[in-house]
Point group: C2
Chain length 277, copies 2
DNA sequence: CTTCATATACTCGAATCGAGTATAAAGGAG
DNA sequence: CTCCTTTATACTCGATTCGAGTATATGAAG
């Protein structure tokens, strides 16, 4: 989900009264979008010279990007930006229903690009196979940025100067789509070891709702019993005692996030075989 | 390990002919330090206003920091910067031999600071308990930055204007020690799911050498049999066939890193309970 | 009352993990 | 030479986690 301002990410120059960029940004977001920012982390600083193909090659525009998560709010009138799912811009990243059919055309285009340079053929081929899961354990949702970068290099997206073919997905202003891809990749990696999903949930929610949110982020369908077990043994949520009956099926218990637990537990164990003595 | 230039991190302004910052930086490092950079990733962009207490509060200095890993080289003459272990600057982060005795004094100072503000007492106390492992599962090496930030807020490090007490660890220029803490924390987290350690190893190495490198990064002692098992089943290394006999003990087999494996395997599984069908 | 859809609970074997033990091979002390 | 120290390497065992699947509960719709 991203704020839409004519297919651009919300941005501005950083003049602010605040000492820290983060604090200034928080105020700016709330003012500009009407949504208070819950979670906020620095994403990446883009400073390459050819970010804007049209401008003077001797200037360098520096963008410090942030990843923010906010709860979706009810409609706020048409003067406010609307929410738009990010799969508009990255249709090949959504594997929830099925492997997106558009992937075939993308991979065909990439293969063509790989073959077009006999010297780099093998290395390009390796990158494609890896990023799109043709080797190894299959599709890896974390590689969203690598996939976009390959498509950019191969000129399969409209941002590329000399686009060939249709241009996959909806384009964005400047290099905003690259920034968004960076954010998606970061967020997809992050949800695995830090409970940021809850910043997107309302105060009380069902387990299915939580699962569907994670699925939307990861672009994958998850295994319901195992998802519940995982959530359960992390002890991150507790029942509110209430029950919801949204249309169809057995009513579900409502849960709330236990903010306090964060301080008491190590999230996603250490993975290092520590010696104890 | 960090390059020493009078207790500062190597830095410079980013005028370069290169289109990408990363490429320019790579060239700059090699030129300046004589060490070719192996692994390089953007770390964090520091842009707060009060980074340099002495300067004009209406200017903002922006530093884009990078984390780089290089193999240690033989001495190159005294005109080149020397390597210095980072535990000079963060003695409380080295738990390889034992819990560092200096931690007692640090925690005492922090407790005093927490108590000095009755309104924030509880929240400060929580942060201290969490960062220094007094609650939950104990010491967590990944929290190096949080620990430094607490010490900075409590004015227990010399960078703070109104230092009280001795000032723990060796100070660095400007906010370089905060940057270094950021890098340590990032690297400690990274080695758990990405095989960057090998960027620090020579072409062939023993398992103990590898373990000691990881231990130096994590500041922890590891369990030898389990460390070997983990390395082994990741299939990241292979025997060279040779044997080393560095002084003392049974000679060890030499191993080399299998660069190729990276493309074929998913590193540190997905942690999401994916549905397959 | 049956069917459908969803919620929730439980099972089972495989893989992984923490912790520890056992054996092998070098050098040095006596 | 023998024993001891030191490091290398191999193996064990129980507990926990994980992938995958099954079974039962409870509402709404027809």
């Amino acid at each position: 989900m991203t704020v839409r301002l004519g297919d651009a990410l919300p941005s501005g120059s950083f003049e602010s009264d605040h000492h820290s960029l983060q604090a200034g940004l928080r105020a700016w977001i709330e003012n500009k979008t009407g949504h208070p920012a819950g979670y906020l982390e620095q994403l990446y600083t883009f400073a390459d010279r050819d970010r804007e193909p049209s401008s003077d090659p001797n200037t360098r525009r520096i963008s410090i990007s942030y990843l923010g998560l906010v709860r979706e709010q009810s409609a706020l009138g048409s003067d406010r930006p609307q929410w738009l799912g990010w799969y508009e811009y990255f249709p090949w990243e959504d594997h929830r229903d099925r492997r997106p059919p558009v992937l075939d055309a993308i991979i065909e285009g990439l293969d063509e690009w790989a073959s077009s340079d006999s010297e780099q053929h093998a290395s390009r081929r390796h990158r494609i196979d890896h990023a799109f899961g043709r080797v190894g354990p299959g599709w890896n949702e974390d590689l969203a940025l690598q996939r976009y970068e390959l498509m950019y290099e191969a000129c399969l997206v409209a941002e590329c100067g000399r686009l060939r073919g249709p241009g996959f997905g909806r384009a964005m202003a400047g290099d905003h789509r690259r920034i968004l891809a960076t954010g998606i990749a970061r967020l997809r990696a992050k949800i695995k070891y830090h409970p940021v999903v809850f910043e997107l949930m309302p105060n009380s929610f069902t387990l299915l709702g939580l699962q569907q949110t994670v699925e939307a982020l990861a672009g994958l369908r998850l295994h319901k019993p195992n998802f519940r077990r995982q959530v359960d043994q992390q002890e991150l949520i507790e029942e509110t005692g209430e029950i919801t009956s949204e249309t169809r099926g057995r009513p579900a218990k409502l849960f709330r996030y236990r903010r306090s637990i964060l301080e008491a537990r190590a999230l996603a164990g250490s993975r290092l075989p520590i010696a104890r003595d």
